[in-house]
């Protein structure tokens, strides 16, 4: 394996693709490489080429979750999502760009089973262990997207600037299909550079977890109010972060036998989040 330390975004993207991977904090990528779930000939360290820090409504993709949880200027939903994610050790290394691109925590996937998302035929969670799994968009892969931060950015209507384009956070994600099992639309040689925030009148992030600290979301609910309009997005309920066009959509959930409880939790948290803002 080779490690490159480019000094400009252009140099970095030139080195990406063809079996090389961008390395930010490494909290996700390092164990995936060690466990053989990601194969990379080359790692491209992007710390020096991706912006870091908050300037007005722009957040550098290299900003750590620990920096964001302490930032009084960013919307509350994002600050709370960062503060409630992972552990202090992970937040001090993990960046917001890497967080948006984290892979599923589905144990079948993490243990290297040849499941549908890995390119196989079957979703093992469907007839197996499924307590943490999805209640929406789950007919092919029933994994639950683990990012608290992505749900917050989705509710906030944030946009991303990459080395190629600018687009809404919602467009970063796609449900995987038989032909293309990726859950993001980012090209292998594209880097997220910045996140542009909107300024809501009020926002919040509520998270149900197995214990009060340091847990992935069972259900996370981000809500942001812009004048008379409220946007709600959920973490932990679908293979990708899930925008809830209306509260009534919760009635259309398609839970697995073991995940019906998530719909009830989502209902309660959505009600509380709306009340809170």
């Amino acid at each position: 394996m080779e490690l490159l330390r480019p000094s400009s975004p252009e140099e970095a993207t030139g080195a990406l693709g063809n079996g090389s991977r961008a390395l930010a904090g490494g909290t996700e990528l390092v164990p995936l490489i060690r466990d053989g779930l990601v194969k990379a000939d080359t790692l491209v360290e992007i710390r020096d080429v991706v912006p870091r820090g908050v300037t007005g409504t722009r957040i550098g993709a290299g900003t750590t979750l620990a920096e964001l949880e302490l930032d009084g200027e960013i919307p509350q939903a994002l600050r709370e999502a960062c503060a409630q994610a992972a552990s202090p050790q992970l937040r001090s290394m993990g960046t917001i760009g890497g967080n948006l691109l984290q892979a599923t925590r589905c144990w079948y996937w993490r243990l290297g089973f040849d499941c549908w998302l890995h390119g196989g035929e079957t979703c093992f969670a469907r007839d197996g262990a499924q307590r943490e799994h999805a209640v929406f968009g789950n007919d092919k892969c029933a994994s639950a997207h683990p990012s608290d931060i992505a749900a917050a950015l989705l509710a906030l209507g944030a946009t991303l600037r990459t080395t190629r384009r600018e687009f809404a956070v919602a467009e970063l994600y796609r449900l995987p299909t038989d032909d293309d099992r990726n859950v993001t639309t980012l090209a292998p040689d594209e880097l997220i550079l910045e996140i542009e925030l909107t300024t809501p009148d009020a926002s919040t992030y509520l998270k149900a977890m197995d214990r009060r600290k340091w847990s992935f979301p069972i259900v996370g609910v981000a809500a942001a109010r812009f004048g008379g309009e409220t946007r709600i997005a959920l973490a932990g309920v679908a293979p990708i972060p899930w925008l809830l066009d209306s509260v009534a959509i919760l009635d259309e959930a398609t839970p697995l036998p073991g995940t019906g409880y998530k719909v009830e939790i989502a209902r309660a948290l959505v009600r509380r989040a709306i009340e809170a803002i």
Binding site: G26, T27, I33, A66, S87, S92
Partner: protein
């Protein structure tokens, strides 16, 4: 590749593989087995070290990422042959059973107390939330943290 870094105040060099973790380099190449390897997934905190003063899981950081940076491990907390107050408190409170989690908890506690001399129980819970202990049930660990805070 060869990397240069500072470990516990001393400049060091090590020959490492590009994909190897800082934890591996500390334990196997630099002779510092204090930081423990339990889960290698960022879940247990037994490998906690300070990187430029920030608490991190050494199992999730590549050795190469630490190039040019300052690392403090549990071995670096004692000064002039005298244990750090946090280490003394863990011994005095009986907060150690198998001891596997102890180095990580000691480093995380030292980090908390360096920032906050009067931590509330909630501050302690938050600061140690990334460190799991399978033996003690945490009550004695809390005693040790309170004791260390009082002695500072």
């Amino acid at each position: 590749m060869r990397i240069e870094l500072s470990v516990n105040g001393e400049p060091c060099e090590a020959d490492v593989w590009e994909g190897e973790s800082l934890l591996y380099a500390l334990r196997e190449r630099l002779g510092l087995p204090g930081s423990k390897n339990a889960c290698e997934q960022g879940e247990c905190g037994s490998c906690s070290v300070l990187l430029d003063g920030k608490l991190v899981c050494a199992c999730l950081v590549l050795a190469a990422q630490a190039e040019g940076h300052e690392i403090v491990t549990v071995e670096g907390l004692a000064e002039d042959g005298r244990l750090h107050k946090v280490q003394e408190a863990f011994v005095a409170a009986g907060a150690v059973q198998c001891g596997f989690c102890t180095p990580g908890l000691v480093v995380a506690t030292a980090d908390l107390l360096a920032r906050n001399v009067y931590p509330s129980d909630d501050d302690i819970r938050e600061a140690l939330s990334g460190n799991l202990c399978r033996c003690t049930g945490y009550a004695k660990i809390f005693d040790a943290v309170r004791m260390a805070a009082a002695s500072l």
